[in-house]
């Protein structure tokens, strides 16, 4: 009886505190990567201690570095959500970059061309709503293509990224180009439409906390709503979900729209909160978002942590570069790639180990008359 209870308690703890395993995995991966990178840096002649100190202080050594890291994490979080939510629903949305760009350019167009003389606090909310809507609709295009023309979403979203990129280039050479210059860039957005800064002399705009609230909202949606459960079920096994009466296609459309909206919102926040204008080279947060989503294990809260981690890495590496240590920017990218790789490897190893343990005969749940059946359902 006691053994049976202990087994069930352990199973329950495993389910409810699985994030501890993931966190331990992340810490182990970081430690391994750090050791690897430090050794590599020492071998090629850099001072690992100086670099790590500068990296840590530059990313989190005070209010200003921390706010910079959070500002950097904001678009990563939203594009990570765009990828993570859709992946979880079984839709391989690789188009967060295109959705990000479309959201940004919609906000720029609205504030500089269509509503340049709008009253304060009119154009900005409209731009936020329109940017998110544009991102969502851009993502839906891929779903529509799949539904009516059987074009795989993974393919159409990749291609739509290029369509968005070249569309924006055309717009920045045409109707959205700033006057008085031959450069392909938009005019400056009027200051009244900028997102308010929460900490003076920094770029910490209120879009940053808003992005984290969006992540919490999606976590709640996934864990506390029927629709959230249905999208997860549709992602696990669409055929089984269909048999269970879940409208799989409708749920996937919905989640695609929401994901695209998130990426669009990322673009809006970047343009209204940080840059206040747009050029053709507007960052690659959409692609980085995929890595963030994978590192966060497709869980909105995990994605938030992964985005913060990536933000710290990016800002820290920037500070190292700014110092005289002259570490190439590529090193930060290598670190990020290694962390993901090691996390995936550790995850696969732990999953295999768990499988081996549960398949052993003596590890099977001890049955007794009084115990309930094995816990079923999906967490």
């Amino acid at each position: 009886m006691a053994a049976s209870q202990a087994w069930f308690l352990a199973r329950r703890a495993g389910r409810e505190f699985g994030w501890i395993v993931t966190l331990a995995q992340a810490v182990a991966a970081c430690a391994l990567v750090l050791a690897l990178v430090l050794t590599g840096l020492a071998v090629v002649g850099y001072s690992p201690v100086a670099i790590v100190t500068r990296w840590a202080c530059g990313a989190a050594g005070g209010v200003y570095p921390l706010t910079s890291s959070m500002v950097e994490a904001c678009p990563l979080l939203l594009t990570g959500l765009a990828a993570g939510l859709t992946f979880r629903a079984g839709v391989l949305n690789i188009g967060a970059q295109g959705q990000f760009l479309v959201g940004a350019v919609t906000a720029v167009g609205l504030t500089t061309r269509w509503l340049p003389a709008a009253a304060p606090l009119v154009a900005m909310p409209l731009a936020i709503a329109a940017g998110a809507l544009a991102g969502g609709l851009w993502a839906l295009l891929a779903s529509v293509l799949e539904r009516y023309r059987a074009v795989p979403v993974v393919l159409s979203t990749i291609l739509l990224n290029f369509v968005a990129l070249y569309l924006i280039r055309a717009l920045l050479h045409g109707p959205l180009q700033a006057t008085g210059t031959a450069a392909p860039q938009s005019p400056l957005i009027p200051a009244r439409d900028w997102l308010g800064v929460l900490i003076p002399l920094s770029s910490f705009h209120w879009g940053v906390p808003a992005a984290f609230l969006v992540a919490v909202g999606f976590w709640w949606f996934n864990t506390h709503t029927t629709w959230g459960f249905e999208t997860f079920a549709a992602g696990l096994n669409p055929a089984a979900a269909n048999l269970a009466g879940i409208p799989v296609r409708a749920r996937q459309f919905l989640i695609m729209f929401l994901g695209g909206g998130c990426a669009g919102l990322a673009g809006v926040f970047q343009v209204l909160g940080v840059t206040h204008f747009m050029t053709a080279s507007f960052g690659d947060y959409g692609y980085a978002g995929i890595a963030v989503a994978l590192l966060g294990r497709l869980n909105p809260l995990g994605i938030a942590l992964a985005a913060i981690f990536f933000g710290l890495l990016d800002v820290g590496s920037q500070r190292v570069q700014e110092s005289t240590l002259a570490l190439p920017q590529g090193v930060a990218d290598v670190v990020k790639a290694l962390v993901i790789l090691f996390m995936l490897l550790l995850g696969a190893y732990l999953a295999r180990r768990r499988l081996r343990v549960t398949s052993l005969p003596d590890a099977a749940p001890p049955t007794s008359a009084g115990s309930a059946g094995p816990p079923g359902g999906v967490n």
Binding site: G180, A182, A183, S203, V274, S281, Y285, V315
Partner: protein
């Protein structure tokens, strides 16, 4: 007993110590007195063109003038504001944004105050508090156009740019004007590919060569390798009776590139070091003036450089005279390029 000699020479010892202290202060430069300059690039320091050249120039100027130099690569306009603010907070004396895309972020940060001076390369607009270094390769491109018109057998020229930005479009316009000053019927095809995709620029160059274009002027930085490879392949496969295909370099002197140096008669070169040195000096002496600073043929920053290995063979004496004549007319203001 032992103190007596010291007492006797105490005055001399004191004088010696003071002299040593003065010498030490004179030789050791305190951190707060160091002139700090930063260069922000959007591309890679190994792009073989604009960014690599910018970094090399600022490092060289830093060594010559004993500056504390910081250079960062791969800074997108999205991150530029934060990077510039970092430098502002670290009290850098001069921050140079190496590309037109840094003009608006620089203007925003410069407006926040502080003693840091901001300059932007490659833009064509003035902004408050910002010195805009307008590198104008139109003049040297005009000279290359003259040379191209004299080299071509087909009467068809090609221009490949990384992106249609002001500095690149100026090159195209100068090239066309120069070529048409020799032969008004000459055609110049233009295409904009990418800064960092050699495969793309290579296929564009191959397409140009198939259309009969036999002189290509490229301004694509890291992607120039693709154009050079296409030209080398074309020249290797051509029969001796056919006229060869030539390619021109840009931004830095690419005449001695290892891929097809024998078919690169000239390059339009920016001497960035000269411009940076002048800028640093202006800040140090308190003469920094915001506004557009023309860096062109007149002040020797932008020049056309002929390949000395091809002078006398591919580049005949008449061609050299025509190019020199064009330079003279440009300097005298007899030719005005828009």
């Amino acid at each position: 007993m032992t103190r007596a000699p010291f007492r006797r020479h105490r005055r001399e010892a004191l004088l010696l110590a003071v002299a040593a202290l003065i010498a030490l202060v004179a030789t050791v430069r305190p951190a707060w007195a160091t002139f700090k300059v930063a260069l922000i690039c959007s591309g890679s320091f190994t792009d073989g063109g604009w960014n690599q050249q910018g970094r090399a120039a600022i490092v060289r100027v830093g060594r010559q003038l004993h500056l504390h130099v910081s250079a960062v690569e791969h800074v997108s306009p999205v991150r530029a504001v934060n990077v510039m603010r970092d430098y502002l907070m670290e009290h850098y004396n001069l921050v140079i944004g190496h590309g037109y895309e840094f003009l608006m972020p620089a203007a925003e940060i410069a407006a926040e105050g502080g003693s840091t001076k901001f300059a932007v390369c490659g833009a064509d607009q003035a902004r408050p508090h910002i010195a805009t270094l307008a590198f104008d390769l139109a003049g040297p491109s005009y000279q290359l156009g003259v040379l191209a018109a004299l080299l071509t057998k087909s009467g068809k020229l090609g221009f490949i740019g990384g992106q249609a930005i002001p500095s690149v479009v100026a090159c195209y316009r100068g090239f066309v004007a120069g070529a048409r000053s020799i032969n008004p019927r000459i055609t110049v095809a233009q295409a904009y590919t990418s800064w960092d995709q050699p495969a793309l620029s290579r296929s564009q160059a191959e397409a140009f060569i198939q259309q009969g274009i036999d002189v290509i002027y490229q301004n694509v930085d890291a992607a120039s390798r693709g154009v050079f490879e296409a030209v080398r392949r074309a020249d290797e496969s051509r029969a001796r009776q056919q006229s060869p295909v030539y390619v021109f370099g840009s931004n830095r002197n690419q005449n001695n590139n290892t891929t097809c140096g024998a078919f690169t008669p000239a390059s339009a070169v920016i001497h960035m070091g000269l411009a940076f040195r002048r800028l640093v000096r202006a800040v140090q002496q308190g003469n920094f003036k915001p506004g557009v600073v023309p860096e062109n043929m007149a002040n020797g920053v932008c020049v056309a450089v002929l390949n000395p290995r091809l002078e006398g063979t591919v580049i005949t004496a008449a061609m050299q005279r025509a190019v020199a004549h064009a330079a003279e007319r440009l300097r005298n203001g007899k030719i005005r390029l828009r």
